[in-house]
Symmetry: C2
Subunit: 706 residues, 2 copies
């Protein structure tokens, strides 16, 4: 996950993979062609025409497709295909296309007031400087700005993005193509999903970002990608650009050990226990079952992912390898200038990390008491908001600023559909029992004050709280949301009183956490300098952990041997769609697709080697959450596919990239072209992208001149 600016430094490796361009041309993410790669906030996308046409994953556009569905025309089922620009529909007021146009190192500015401080003060100084830089940058309308931290406090960058707010849905295949296989196939190569959708970015007549208006005009991007019309095969060069969210690959050996030996196993155990508690509490109560279905699905997903990550990190010997790397760095360090100071910081960071271990059980349980409840979390949010509203907006805690209030209101409303008192009590009973089992010095006095110190008290407290609180009533929650802070604080609702007590603990724990975060922000750069310096001494470059900034990965189309005697080919074909088709979602391929497959109506998008139409392909590119929709490009920078998933064996890649197992899953641009040429035809878009209309390998004869 290289920063574009690092690409010239790894030119040799890129050429070795087969890259045919000049890495310098890719090194500025704010200029063409990299500026064709945009963020949707959570997903990646790219411009593919000079008229602001954007391609991303179907699953990234799911909300927009749902929003435009009506009982008469369910776009999820039917797909969407705007015949002309006038038929394009709004992706919703929250939809964004973010085009990066500035990426500036501002380390000195951010750290100027932090230097000499420690702990919480260091943290607060960095936060204040960051907020100030963002505010200054956002003073110019139409931009969203952020400060990002590279190498854990080593470097800070200011990023400015043009914030396009009029985003329209242009083309989406039916869900049965766009998410064929859905949750069942998720993470499971071989996949057969046509996970692509087209948007168009619109701006005001003045060319500046504007809210949706019929008067708006298509945005004219400085750069757009060309779609390849050439075949793909195993071994071909591939690269990918996008906005990966978060990785942990530069954590210390102690943190790796904590992850493998405690975090993941305890998460597996706790999620299993909570699932069992919810299942017991909803048994025989169909209504409660429906209310908790989403939470159960989320618990199962967390459990499955934790187990997958644990299995993967063990399989890759991640802890032992990091210990070896760290030991090698520490052995090399004394030969360097400033070695003693660096070593002192590294050792101090290790102590801070070790200190968190003493309260990790407590912190985990206290977090889950809020994350896994509806009413208690709501009460605590109301109390916290009442506290934060007493401050200037810029000084409020992140998550409780003015911009966050709509989200809090939505959550308080949603609780109405996702709450049943018996189930929330069962969840809390399970967590409280575990809290009571902690050593005395880890237990939270405020939890004991509210729920008592033994099982009988906890049961009585839960009974009393949930049988008398008025918060189960949506109107009451919204009333408190609208009420003045003193009125909220004065509420005598028993759950509001409990939340007020627990908030004291939350603030104290948060303060401890921020102090630790500040210390690590101050001390970790020494570790990073050691690791980077040692790597450089061995001729290796080091990229920073992912942080939602634009990154580039290069590699090849590559098969996967996940287990003894099992081999996965890197290209799937439409034959696999037919094999998986059962007629029942998520394996209900639509008739036009099955018919076109049966006719073998592939035209020029047919794979010459396989003699059939491909669907998805597999590369060894480096991805994580946030890379959904990332353009995959060939050696000449042409679009050959969209990233949309990764394989199960790669779940642990957020901590460790293991080349034997890490693959990324892409929808083949040829499948997209075939769907648009032969299955759900969109000749106007093929034409706009300069692609053959009928799948034949030639430019379109006709043109509609739009």
């Amino acid at each position: 996950m290289w920063l574009p600016s690092q690409l010239p430094g790894i030119e040799e490796a890129m050429r070795g993979s087969g890259f045919q361009g000049d890495p310098k041309d890719l090194s500025d993410l704010s200029r063409p062609p990299m500026s064709a790669v945009v963020s949707l906030g959570g997903c990646t996308a790219s411009f593919v025409s000079p008229q602001g046409l954007v391609v991303t994953n179907h699953h990234c556009a799911h909300g927009a497709i749902q929003l435009n569905s009506t009982p008469e025309n369910n776009l999820i089922v039917n797909g969407f295909n705007a015949a002309t620009m006038a038929d394009e529909v709004s992706a919703g007021p929250g939809a964004r296309v973010l085009v990066t146009d500035r990426f500036e190192r501002i380390t000195e500015r951010i750290l100027a007031r932090a230097r000499g401080k420690t702990g919480r003060a260091y943290h607060d100084a960095v936060e204040a400087a960051s907020k100030a830089a963002v505010a200054e940058c956002e003073a110019e309308p139409g931009y969203r700005c952020s400060v990002v931290d590279m190498y854990y406090g080593t470097d800070f960058h200011l990023i400015r993005q043009l914030e396009i707010r009029d985003v329209r849905l242009v083309y989406a295949p039916p869900d049965a193509i766009g998410s064929y296989g859905d949750e069942i196939d998720n993470f499971m190569w071989p996949r057969h999903s046509g996970d692509f959708t087209f948007y168009r970015a619109y701006v005001g007549p003045d060319g500046r970002p504007a809210a949706y208006s019929p008067d708006n005009v298509p945005f004219r991007p400085a750069a757009w990608l060309t779609v390849s019309t050439e075949p793909l095969a195993e071994g071909d060069f591939a690269m990918l650009a996008g906005y990966p969210g978060r990785t942990f690959r530069h954590r210390t050996a102690a943190e790796f050990a904590d992850q493998v030996e405690w975090q993941l196993p305890s998460r597996v155990e706790l999620m299993s226990a909570l699932l069992a508690a919810v299942e017991r509490a909803t048994a025989g109560d169909a209504d409660a079952g429906v209310r908790y279905a989403a939470q159960v699905a989320s618990l199962k997903n967390t459990l499955k992912r934790a187990q997958g990550e644990l299995d993967g990190l063990r399989r890759s010997h991640a802890v032992a390898e990091r210990r070896t790397q760290e030991a090698a760095m520490l052995a090399w360090l004394p030969s360097q200038p400033d070695a003693a100071a660096i070593r002192a910081d590294i050792d101090a960071a290790a102590e801070v990390i070790a200190s968190a271990r003493g309260t990790r059980e407590r912190d985990q349980l206290f977090g889950l008491m809020q994350a896994q409840t509806q009413l208690l979390r709501g009460a605590m949010q109301l109390q916290r908001l009442a506290l934060e509203r007493g401050k200037p907006d810029a000084e409020r805690e992140a998550g409780y600023q003015l911009r966050d209030e709509a989200r809090i209101e939505a959550a308080l409303r949603q609780a109405q559909r996702r709450y049943a008192p018996a189930v929330e009590r069962a969840i809390l009973a399970e967590l409280l029992a575990r809290h009571r089992a902690l050593p005395a010095d880890q237990r939270v006095p405020e939890i004991e004050a509210v729920f008592g110190a033994d099982a009988a008290s906890a049961a009585a407290a839960l009974e009393a709280l949930y049988s008398t609180t008025a918060l189960a009533d949506e109107a009451e929650r919204l009333r408190l949301l609208a009420a003045a802070p003193p009125e909220v604080r004065a509420s005598t609702d028993p759950l509001m009183r409990a939340a007020a007590t627990l908030q004291q603990a939350a603030l104290r724990l948060e303060d401890e956490d921020k102090a630790r975060a500040g210390e690590l922000l101050r001390l970790r750069p020494a570790y990073m300098r050691g690791m980077i310096g040692h790597a450089r001494s061995e001729g290796r470059a080091v990229y920073p952990d992912a942080n939602s900034t634009l990154r580039v990965s290069h590699g090849r189309i590559e098969s996967l041997q996940p287990r003894d005697a099992v081999s996965y080919a890197p290209l799937t074909t439409v034959e696999g769609i037919v094999e998986k088709h059962t007629g029942v979602a998520p394996f209900d391929a639509p008739a036009p697709l099955l018919d076109a497959i049966a006719r073998r109506d592939f035209g020029a998008t047919v794979d010459p080697g396989l003699g059939t139409q491909t669907v998805n392909f597999l590369t060894n590119l480096d991805t994580t959450g946030g890379n959904s929709g990332s353009p995959v490009m060939d050696a000449r920078g042409r679009l050959i596919g969209l990233n949309f998933d990764s394989n199960w064996e790669a779940v642990s890649a957020s901590w460790k990239f293991d080349p034997r197992y890490k693959r990324a899953i892409h929808v083949d641009a040829r499948y997209m072209r075939w769907i648009m040429a032969r299955v759900y035809p969109a000749p106007q878009l093929l034409h706009e992208m300069g692609l053959p209309l009928d799948g034949a390998d030639r430019a379109p004869a006709e043109a509609d001149g739009r």
Copy 2:
């Protein structure tokens, strides 16, 4: 699944696969080398030394291993390794090694008295002639005889087998090797199981079969197989001999359609409904849950297999293909002599088959009312036994002869552990509801007489029957088993009265069934003659459906592409054991195995291509239930492995052999040799088989002269 006698006729195809011997040498199953292949009754095995050493699957010897386990020495866990012959232990009084020494066509004798008859009379005449031939053959002590039917009534053969009754356990690896992966990996290539065990056959000092005695001596077989010391690779010739139980590949297109369109889907639906009924009835009742655990496992297994068979037959377009073959045969038929008579029989057979469709729902439900209950089935068995005991043994219904009484007693005893009244009532309530939904002309009057014609009557009848019957008491069941027939018939126990009424229906349905079976036995040979004749006209030979007689299959070591983009290599390695190892059964590889793998202590059994120790391999050989333990041989007839499983995609092969999907799974003889050389050493057995003692590719230096 060729009869050995057919092999000279397919010499060209065998040579094409790579066979290097003379097929004529394999054509007599009662002479060497085919007589080295023996039946254990349900499993296949083979002699591998002149001293009666027999090799078969670990899972075929599971009962013998369990029988010899003690609290102090659990042979299932520890394995078994007799240092000398004196240490070999009895596999139990029921263990058998059956050596075929006669295989004689007796069609004329069997059909002599059937000719001119129809329906039930034809059936009874064939049965009487078969029983007489068996009785005559078994007059000579030490033999077990049977009459088998080839091509559905076309040909009958008398088979005589030497019945060796002193079978001893010689060597078994621990269960964690012998059934590594167990139920989870069952049917799931890639597998990693060391599924082998050694027996030795003993006879009396006079060389004749005898019950276990310390005075017995090792049997000296006329033939034994040599174990190969050469490597294996994809594409190598392989052949396999064994006793496959039953296939249905020569059924008519109408029967294929019935299987795919009704039998399997209805089985899936019914098994799911019964599972749900049992689960509802055992919910919250741990004791009932334990009592029905085996029945639930069996229902699930039946359900899974039915679904797998259904998926496979659909995937292979089995119905359409058989329709095409049948149409081609019927189009060719008029050019043949006797065409009109053959066609008349074929059409008459089709009518008989069609007639069964009218009552298939009824027959299925009535069958399940016995198969899925404990007490009701017991009551019906007691009534039926009372009826049959009034006849000479030879005339009794199969299953109710003197030889069957011990089995019936065991079942009546076992009910004590497998019965809970609420669950049996729930099962019957489910089946009765379905019976009531049948059209009036399909409903069984006796069922209505016992359980009434509506839901309320059924509930009342079940309540009355199960709250008052004394049959829940094991002593009462055994008292009735021992009682004289008139006393049984006079029993006033309400469940015995119900069984007496239902027995009238059972006898009537049985009579209909036998009449249909007799007609089909008379008429099907015309269909077979048509299909065989048409195949011959196209140069194809046809083997009879499997019927537990010795068959040979030839082919190659072959990979499998079960789904789009998925490829399975044909050889697995010990690395896969390590990958699957979790420490929890069935993936708890024992320490000596893991240590030997870690040491890469492979010696001469290492695969030269893979550079590691192989475990299992995959061929395209034709197998079905009964082929467990079958020797797999190379082009020169040397033992290269033992068959023990097949792949999931091959579940439908009992109806249709589809070369894309049908594979057989074998334990590699090199893995067996390695386990015996380096992991749980048995140099005495390697020596007895003429194999290198230390895995080195040379004859043993020392010899113990046994």
